[in-house]
Amino acid sequence: MRHFLSLLIVACLATSAVAADPPLAGPIMVHPAAVKLTHHRQPQSLQVLATTAEGYSLDLRPQAKFASAAEKIAAVDSTGWVRPVASGQTEVTVTVLGQTLKVPVTVSLPAAELAHSFRHEVMPALSKAGCNMGACHGYSLGKNGFRLSLRGADPEQDYLFITKEFFGRRVNLEKPEASLLVAKPRGDVPHEGGIRFKKGSLVDGILTDWVRGSAAGDLADQNRVVAVRLVPETLVLHPNEPHQLQCLAEYSDGTVRDVTRLTVFTANNEQFARVDDEGLVQAGDAGETAIVARFERTFAATSVLVLRPNPSFVAAPLPQHIIDRPVVAKLNRLKIVASPPADDEEFLRRVYLDLIGVQPKPDEVRAFLASTDAAKREQTIDALLARPELVDHWSLKWGDLLQNSRNSVSSQGMYLFREFIRGAVAANMPLDEFARRILTAKGGGSDDPASAYFAISKDTNDTVERSTQVFCGIRMLCARCHTHPLENWTQADYYGVASFFSQVSTRADTRFPGVQNAKLVQLNLAAGPAINPRTSRGQQPKFLGGEAPALAAETDRREAYALWLTAKENPLFAKSLVNRLWSYFFHRGIIEPVDDIRSTNPPINPELLAALTKDFAEHGFDARRLMRQIVTSETYQRASTPTESNESDEQNFSHAIPRRVPAEALLDSLVQATGVPESFGGAPAGFRAAQLPDGNVTSSFLNLFGKPQRMEACECERDNSSNMLQALHFINGASILGRVQNANGRAAQLVKQKLSDEELIAELYLWSLARRPSPKELEVSLEFLKSYGDARTDAVQDMLWALLNSKDFLLVR
């Protein structure tokens, strides 16, 4: 109905043909289009919104005039708040930019004003004042003897603490305004937490009036907030421009309430936008962030884009490619001109490193450069997708994520799981099947190699946290002990998922006596659900953010979870995997961090993520297809050199952002460049770094460059940062010096080939940087060689050392 009314108003406006300055891209909208008021103390704000022809959001409420047709039914103030007076129908007239809009208002009040609700008024007021946040009384032990549930997770408990504890000293029914509940946060009596609200404020009024009304508890009320929405959902603002947000809460009984005044607003990045207690956004520097709103324990977010005017910007035509289209659309909205395509050498090295984890060899570079085939990039990509190194490279990533390690399982179990992962990558096993196979595995490693996944878990909680982080990109750890501070997850959500895994445990695999960590994953179908520590009761199985399914007794509950997780329509699985895979080719995920997906951490390009997610699910969760889509896109193939337009953009994929080559790829490329292999303690002879079974290998190089030990299911365990020790290692470390000076190494081999100086320099560049020297580099290199006179070997070694120490070797551009 609301939608219909909006359309009606839009239709009315369309005929009024009023000129506006600045020019608008569409009609002025009032939100909500119709107002329904059913409670004496629940007014409704009106948003007056428009979009300029340049795409900027306009908040017209400050300049709008509001008038009620019947003040005895509903009153409206100058800021657009409509308040109920008496039951009946009327309308509010909104006049702005010469236009007049009418908003029908229906007031249906109860015969008498309702008593204050502890659940729906006091609890939100306490949250708004910050009384129940973790740093205050929401701390698990409370503060100064007063304990509240974190962010109001447990109204029943809070009611008892407020009204009953210490003989009810916190409420003074005789003199409500003297109640400690209000006197302390108001500053009337000393309060360690300082003044939380002013006398006469909304919160003060709610709390005082609730006490005045006998501090009643409406704990039996089953009406709950089911969703919170922010209006508008996206904002495009000029620097320093303000814009009001409206927060609407939807309840389980179908009612909608304007809770803007009781909502807690925060900005994810205050450099780009701030927000005040009332939801007024103030744009900052040009950039992008999100405003997060929390009402009770439910979150919503509005993305805020701050743009400088750019009248000369010409929008790029939208391509058809599934990736390029939303990326370019976003760049157009941001008025950013993308970088041109990378040249062949830059592209080739990047795609080799990203797809197979090693640089191209000189012959491969030369062949690619020499080819005039228009489809040579696609052909190269297809060839790389069939290379055995691809299996090494991507199995390593999965091995890291799934924490496959001899620390947790037997050596044999670890190798079996490694082989399972490699087999899945080699066969391009659909990722839904891959996840199902893992999440339903049982027995010992020799019965089902994927069972190592559960053998690795310390307990059921560990399984919950690993599974949600790896396969949903969600961090559930917080919700183990309390309601998640940044998302809607509660302990009921956490233990609801845990109940799918509570039938699983491990025991020693007696078939392998004396073998350390030989475990057998067993199922106890009769095992009950996980115990929610908050209620001390079994938490029935409940899908993460989904329903509580009816499961037959004594069945493997993991089966139901795995099917739900990997269903095409699951909002979490495909999205998280797409986001994660994307991040391996760019410097960040579409949501970043990739394994911290939540409503308060929105994607940088929702259309891009949605399109890829849908396509990924519709095409059978085919990882190679997704990889191919990514690397064949213009977005991926853009140069790393920024333009004047995109030099400050590092979020919207307008150019390639140089990244440090990951540890294993760096070492394998180093071995390839120098022709001197690496031997690893604790790994089979001849293994490349990308083939290493786990982190239990001896390699100071890999440790220094951030190879993870597989202790966490988090991408963050891999450290791809750069530091001084790494630089020193490249300058003086044995890994480089020993290889460069090796008598059988690349430098020695090239010297023996009796090449001309130009040829020698070209070979050194190709082996080390996978590209030819530029004319300037060639000139400098020739001078360098000449400066060594007859000491040609020394010259070649030193030059190779210098090239390996260059950024071009250390970075993927």
Binding site: Q412, Y415, D447, R507, P513, L520, F687
Partner: protein, 767 residues
């Protein structure tokens, strides 16, 4: 627990020197398989092969030595007869120096080829090695829809390779992979339907890319038939039974009633190309039952009382089969399931339930296996229980076979069973020579004598000392050979009780003991050209009644014969004792052993060895011999080995206990006062012992005893037992034992007498 293996391994090593270093040794073999009815060239690498070795075939066929052999290499053209059943067999080389240890080969009708880059036609058996981190690769041409099996035989034929197989399609995408599977004893099998025409690649590598030696494999590639299980796996003696041979498909076979118990290899079906280990069933003297096809009542299928075996199948994931068995209150119920150990995919849980289905006890694993063993003590008021066999991990299906053994044991009842084991796989006997083979009895309640015999002995070979005495650990079976010519044979030893029960002597820890158990009893007898009379050892002045007295020393005098008196002789004690263990490690303190290493100097024709007799000896009698190794002048080579004649020696204990009127004593239990029982006993001191003895009672904690120490001048004693009023009536097994110090000069050396078992029978008071 007794573990004879270490001692047997030592003896094996000693026995291996008996035919001098000329006993042939096989180091490698080019192909680990033979094609039935076709000729396969086998090339052996080894040592001491001589130029005229023979291949000792365990089946009908021909083995022709090819020219060009050396002491290190021998080639044979081997043609198994057309009717040789497929399966695993053991091959041995025989020379004048004796027989080699066996190598296992797979025999079937597949072409036997070396592993190469390409396989021209399928099916084929490809033989290769995947050492260290190496990955072996071969290619073949496949068609869309073609069914393919790739099976690696490695662990089953003696390799240490942990095989992993990957099948890669024409587009370089992996089609499938397989890993070492418990059901295949650590080997692997991949089955696939090929998706397209083209060239396929198959790779093999070690699971941990670090294959221990030897790392050979036999890869069978193509299509053939195999049998993984036989259902039921056990049949009762004399019972006709339809058997299911379960592989990729199931074939039925009617087995007529069998007269003898033991392992029975089955005939392969007439039609088809069969390969793999030969199927078998166990014919038992136990009642054998099959799980009923019709749904059983909730309390389970009714089973008869007594020892019974049930063959069943968990046909669906997480299924539980239930059996209701009558039990005797107060008895023990020993339950065991054989599933994983027979190659079944099941992980079985055993659940004892009451008549209402409530679980009373549960068993999961047992040492070395995930098959459960459970001993359930039946409460006093229970006359039946339901036994559940549950699929714990949801692997039930057509192959989910199991065999449940139910062994009810009433109070005082003992099972009567035994196993016979040896470590000797080959015996090289010189002309007129003597060899000793320790045959040890792992007694499981059976205490009576066991008589040994042999089948398929070479001509002129005789066995002596064939009886394992009552209660003894074993015997030193003595094998002697006359001087007439004889051919090497593959023989088998067996032991029989006075009641006719027969058990084959098995090679301990034989790799095929579970796969083709009959191969674990093969012992090669190979005559050698060595003249035994040239080197000999005999007892010197050893008393005819020499015996073993705990904690005493026994001196064994010997006399020697050797052609060259300038050689030294090393003496080693050989006994029939099962090596006692302490925390799974050999316990020298309880082992008959030499006081010190003995080497008789050159030119000495006599010498002696001193045996330390431990304080505890469980067996009443032991066989002893001394092995003499005649050394070369530089002592680096054993020229010959000889054994002194076996002497069977009684254990003479210094103290014997007896109870008057035993071994059962009755008492009436007063509901208030309990019971007090007084038993008179006697103590007999022997072997010169005259000291004090301290007695101790072992039994239920509630039963207490007052036993004063028995001083040196006393031999009678009185045992006063007190039983509390709340003790359940019935039989209470008790043990009485004494400890004493045989030599006052060594006060820390105490000897324990044999346990004296007796039973207190408690009856309820008539009041």
């Amino acid at each position: 627990m007794l573990r004879p293996t270490p001692l047997l391994k030592l003896l094996l090593a000693l026995a291996a020197t008996s035919a001098t270093a000329a006993e042939p040794a096989i180091r490698n073999l080019n192909l680990r398989g033979l094609a039935i009815g076709s000729t396969t060239t086998l090339a052996f690498d080894g040592d001491d092969l001589t130029t005229t070795p023979k291949l000792l075939l365990p089946f009908a066929g021909q083995a022709e030595l090819k020219p060009g052999n050396t002491d290190k290499k021998a080639e044979f053209a081997v043609t198994p007869a057309a009717d040789v059943p497929p399966g695993y067999y053991q091959l041995r080389l025989v020379t004048d120096g004796g027989a080699s240890l066996p190598v296992i080969v797979g025999v079937d009708k597949l072409p036997q080829l070396p592993f190469g880059k390409t396989v021209e036609s399928l099916p084929a058996a490809l033989h290769g090695t995947a050492s260290g981190s190496g990955i072996q690769e071969t290619t073949f041409t496949g068609k869309a829809g073609q069914k393919l099996i790739a099976e690696v035989e490695a662990q089953r034929i003696g390799s240490k390779l942990r095989p992993v197989v990957h099948l890669i399609g024409p587009e370089r995408r992996q089609i499938g992979w397989s890993w070492p599977a418990p059901a295949l004893f650590g080997d692997t099998r991949l089955e696939a339907t090929l998706p397209a025409d083209g060239t396929y690649t198959l790779t093999i590598h070690d699971l941990e890319y670090a294959a221990p030696n030897p790392s050979f494999f036999r890869l069978k590639l193509g299509q053939w038939s195999y049998v993984d299980h036989v259902f039921p796996s056990g049949v009762a003696k004399g019972q006709t039974q339809v058997l299911e041979l379960i592989g990729a498909a199931t074939t039925k076979l009617e087995l007529p009633g069998q007269a003898a118990i033991g392992v029975l290899p089955l005939d392969w079906p007439q039609e088809g190309l069969w390969s793999g280990p030969r199927p078998f069933v166990t014919v038992s003297s136990t009642a054998e039952t099959i799980e009923q096809a019709t749904p059983a009542p909730p309390t389970g299928q009714e089973l008869p009382a007594g020892l019974v075996a049930v063959s069943g199948r968990l046909a669906a994931p997480f299924e539980e089969d239930r059996y209701r068995v009558p039990v005797v209150p107060g008895s023990k119920l020993k339950l065991e399931v054989l599933a994983e150990r027979t190659g079944s995919p099941l992980d079985v849980a055993l659940i004892v339930r009451n008549d209402k289905g409530a679980p009373l006890a549960r068993g999961e694993d047992s040492p070395g296996t995930i098959d459960p063993v459970l001993e359930y003590a039946v409460p006093a008021d229970v006359n039946s229980v339901t036994i559940g066999v549950a699929d714990a991990l949801g692997r039930g299906g057509p192959r989910g076979a199991y065999r449940l053994l139910i062994d009810p044991q009433s109070p005082g009842e003992t099972r009567s069973d035994f196993l016979l084991i040896t470590a000797i796989q080959r015996i090289a006997i010189p002309d007129g020579g003597r060899m000793l083979v320790p045959i040890l009895a792992e007694r499981r309640g059976y205490a009576e004598p066991i008589d040994l015999s042999a089948a398929r002995l070479p001509a002129g070979v005789k066995l002596d000392n064939v009886t394992i005495p009552a209660g003894a650990d074993g015997t030193l079976l003595t094998i002697t050979r006359g001087e007439e010519p004889a051919e090497a044979t593959i023989a088998a030893l067996a032991g029989k009780t006075s009641t006719g029960d027969e058990r084959t002597v098995a090679i301990k820890d034989h790799p095929l003991a579970r796969l083709q158990p009959w191969l674990a009893s093969e012992i090669a007898f190979a005559p050698t050209s060595l003249k035994a009379t040239d080197y000999a050892i005999d007892w010197g002045d050893l008393a005819a009644d020499a015996a073993l007295v705990p904690t005493a020393k026994l001196t064994l005098p010997v006399k020697l014969v050797r052609p060259d008196e300038n050689t030294a002789v090393r003496l080693t004690l050989v006994t029939s004792q099962i090596e006692p263990l302490n925390n799974n490690r050999p316990d020298p303190a309880r082992t008959l052993r030499l006081e010190k290493a003995v080497e008789i100097a050159p030119k000495m024709a006599t010498g002696e060895a001193v045996v330390l007799v431990p304080a505890e000896l469980a067996s009443p009698v032991y066989d002893l011999s001394l092995q003499a190794e005649f050394l070369s002048a530089d002592k680096k080579t054993v020229l010959a080995t000889s054994f002194a004649p076996v002497r069977r020696m009684e254990v003479r204990r210094q103290v014997l206990l007896t109870l008057e009127g035993g071994p059962k004593f009755e008492a009436t239990l007063d509901p208030k006062a309990g019971a007090t029982v007084t038993i008179a006993g006697k103590l007999e001191r022997r072997e010169g012992f005259t000291g004090d003895v301290t007695l101790a009672l072992t039994g239920p904690a509630a039963v207490t005893a007052t036993i004063p120490p028995i001083k040196a001048d006393a031999s009678d004693f009185t045992l006063t037992l007190k039983v509390p009023a709340n003790q359940p009536v019935g039989e209470i097994p008790l043990k009485l034992a004494g400890t004493f110090v045989p030599d006052p000069k060594q006060a820390n050396v105490r000897v324990k007498t044999l346990d004296l078992d007796f039973t207190l029978v408690l009856e309820a008071s008539a009041n």
